[in-house]
């Protein structure tokens, strides 16, 4: 599928001067270097309620279709793409340079990579639920 044109660089190298990253969490990845395949996946139930979790019952991922509904798929298969499409890459320069990168946070199966990758797949399924007791009606003035 990938044909390399002549008189060019076969691969580009990434070079970054400085990087400042505060937090990587929740199936996030940071990598300096090349990588073949990445599979980041996160399922999260963010439940906020006005009662202790220990007394107000369990929560299950299986209760919510969001966590088991299938992912949308492309109708073309990879074999057919290889039959119809040929990609030629011409790299005129052997380097990609970045002076400084500043990131505060990476999370929820996010990926930060300095270098080349082949296949990246990230999946994030998050459901928020907020559960509050109904506020009591305020009695009218003068009662």
């Amino acid at each position: 599928m990938n044909i390399q044109a002549d008189h060019t660089y076969p691969i580009r190298t990434a070079s970054v001067g400085t990087i400042c990253l505060i937090s990587v969490a929740q199936a996030g990845t940071i990598q300096f270097g090349d990588r073949a395949e990445t599979n980041g996946r996160i399922r999260a139930l963010a439940l906020q309620r006005q009662q202790d979790h220990t007394t107000s019952g369990d929560v299950f991922f299986e209760s919510y279709p969001l966590f088991y509904r299938p992912l949308p798929s492309f109708s073309e298969s990879e074999e057919s793409a290889e039959q119809f499409l040929s990609v030629i890459r011409v790299n005129c320069s052997p380097n990609i340079t970045v002076g400084h990168i500043q990131v505060i946070a990476a999370g929820s199966s996010a990926s930060i990579q300095i270098g080349n990758g082949m296949q990246l797949r990230g999946e994030s399924r998050i459901k928020h639920i907020r559960q509050y007791p109904r506020p009591r009606p305020v009695p009218p003035l003068g009662c």
Partner: protein
């Protein structure tokens, strides 16, 4: 047969400043072949439950499974 030619000229960036990379997103300095990112995020109005503090619904096989807390 479709022929797709990509010419990568000089690429030089001074500074990148990002607040957050989140929910199946990517930041890459480099080349890649194949990227598939999926994100499902659910906060509909129905997800705010205001009423008596009843336990949340259990799945069908709740007896055999463990809770997430």
């Amino acid at each position: 047969m479709l022929q797709f030619t990509v010419v990568n000229h000089q690429l030089s960036v001074g500074q990148i400043e990002i607040l957050g990379v989140s929910s199946a997103s990517m930041l890459q300095v480099g080349d890649t072949d194949n990227v598939a990112l999926y994100s499902m995020f659910d906060t509909p109005p129905e997800s705010v439950i205001v009423g008596p503090m009843a336990p949340l619904p259990l799945p069908e096989d709740a007896g055999g499974s463990m809770g997430e807390f």
